[in-house]
Amino acid sequence: MISVRDLTYAYPLTPTAALWNVTFDVPAGQFCALVGANQSGKSTLCYALSGFIPHFYHGTLSGEVSVAGLDVPATPLAQLAGTVGLVFQNPFNQITGARMTVRGEAAFGLENMGVPRSEMLVRADETLALVGLSGLADRSPMQLSGGQQQRLALASMIVMRPQVLILDEPTSQLDPIGTKEVFAALARLVASGGATVILVEHKLEWVAEFADRVIALAGGQLVADGPPREVLNAPEVVASGVGQTRYARAAALARARGLVQPDAALPVTLNQASEFFAPRSLDEYIP
């Protein structure tokens, strides 16, 4: 579904590249998380996958980026729009304000694509239900809370049925409740067998819970790629400034104090943690 080959990119007027020789593939239907410290190139990669690099930001790009069979640098943004969806940090800036109701805002992309009204109505209401905004469909989008606006931004993309959905720190400006609401909506999307998802997220517990796979970036280069438990506990990833899940930190502490087997792999989710801390036999507690 996504194929990136030797992608190197520098923003205009900058001497150093924001991405260096990045290569990876993502199969259809995979939920892939991108982690990395600030300035590691995560957002740049998001823009490169959705075509805003090079079409919007220009700069110098080399290598290949192909999404859903489209050669991204060679395809105009207007044509990529229905195929690749992008949700980013600021909830308010993603509300176009072009329509006066939540339902209208959700359907705006479909209007631009020329989808017939009857179909548009069904799809908009379905998607609002998916993100849990059905009750607010006739309200003004400006009256929503940050978490609700971010779910509306998500709905506005999902409604266009993109083959690839890119989420660039969708919860960074939200409180814990808003974060939970966005991830709950995402969970319903994944359960419904929706799109291939690329998620940039600093809240590692959520990444571990959702992602099939984690790609770690540092200084514009790909440093690790694999299952969440492996990548999120990899020393070079932890050291690059990404940090570690609270489960892994607690487990590491327990391991350092000799409370568990020294070779036990650190957990990254609650389920793994409960397994990690569960006594296998009474002997473990008897010195």
């Binding site: 959705s50 943004l77 729009a81 509300i95 176009t96 072009a98 020329g114 548009m120 400006m142």
Partner: protein, 261 residues
């Protein structure tokens, strides 16, 4: 904080259900009639005989009157004072020491106030009863550029947010010790640390807004559809032109009568 800069309030009335272009034509006719008929009283007649009954029909009379006063009253007071007392020559009605109130001045002021009332009420009648998105849709359906329709609608919705942000910046800078009260030079000096963050943050916003729009296929060429639908009737389609023709015919008649006399 209001959610929208628009005056529109949904009410259940036949006037609200008219096609936006019909309401636009009515307001246009009020404007043409109020400004074009000349004399002192026609503008008031337009207000009393046309605007007030329509506002009653649309159940928006109270909101309309409430919105007219703050705009028309300051104009009226200054016009009566300035034009009433400072009028070269003319017939004095009342003399107060060196100045005197002139009949011609009062008449001029009255005519001007009538035009302002007609103009403002034409605008208010339209905006109180027509949702901005419906009006924009009606216009884009007839070839009005969608880009401008987008700008109008977004502005209406974003201005309150912009005001809220300005208030946040004001609070933030005050908490850092910026003095925003006192003498005029001090107030002027305080302006820069308030305006610069507001403009810079808005520029960053514009970039993100452009991306959000592109991601919704806004720049796609080809047929676009609309979720919103408008009810139009053939009667209204004809009526719109007739409504616009009425004040023009009246103005033409008036001129013809003047020439004949």
């Amino acid at each position: 904080m209001t959610s929208s800069f628009s005056l529109y309030a949904p009410r259940d009335s036949g006037y609200h259900r008219l096609h936006p272009l019909t309401k636009l034509a009515i307001s246009g006719a009020i404007l043409i009639g109020g400004l074009g008929l000349g004399g002192t009283w026609p503008a008031f007649a337009v207000f009393v005989l046309i605007v007030v009954p329509l506002a009653l029909w649309s159940r928006a009379l109270r909101s309309l009157l409430r919105a007219i006063w703050p705009i028309a009253l300051p104009f009226a007071i200054s016009l009566f004072l300035i034009r009433g007392f400072i009028w070269p020559g003319g017939t004095p009605i009342l003399t107060l020491g060196p100045v005197s109130l002139k009949a011609e001045g009062i008449e001029f002021a009255l005519a001007a106030v009538g035009r302002i009332v007609a103009m403002v009420s034409a605008f208010l009648l339209l905006s109180l009863t027509t949702p901005p998105d419906a009006l924009m849709l009606a216009l884009t359906e007839r070839g009005f550029p969608p880009m401008i329709a987008y700008i109008v609608l977004t502005t209406i919705q974003i201005v309150p947010r912009f005001q809220a942000r300005a208030a946040t910046i004001l609070d933030a800078q005050r908490s850092r010790g910026l003095e925003t009260e006192g003498s005029l030079p001090r107030r002027l000096r305080a302006l820069l640390p308030l305006v610069v963050p507001l403009i810079l943050s808005s520029i960053v916003d514009i970039e993100e807004r452009a991306i959000a729009l592109e991601a919704r296929a806004f720049s796609r060429v080809g047929v676009k559809t609309s979720l919103l639908t408008l009810n139009d009737t053939s009667i209204q389609r004809v009526a719109r032109w007739l409504i616009l023709a009425v004040p023009l015919i009246l103005i033409a008649l008036r001129f013809a009568l003047e020439i004949a006399a």
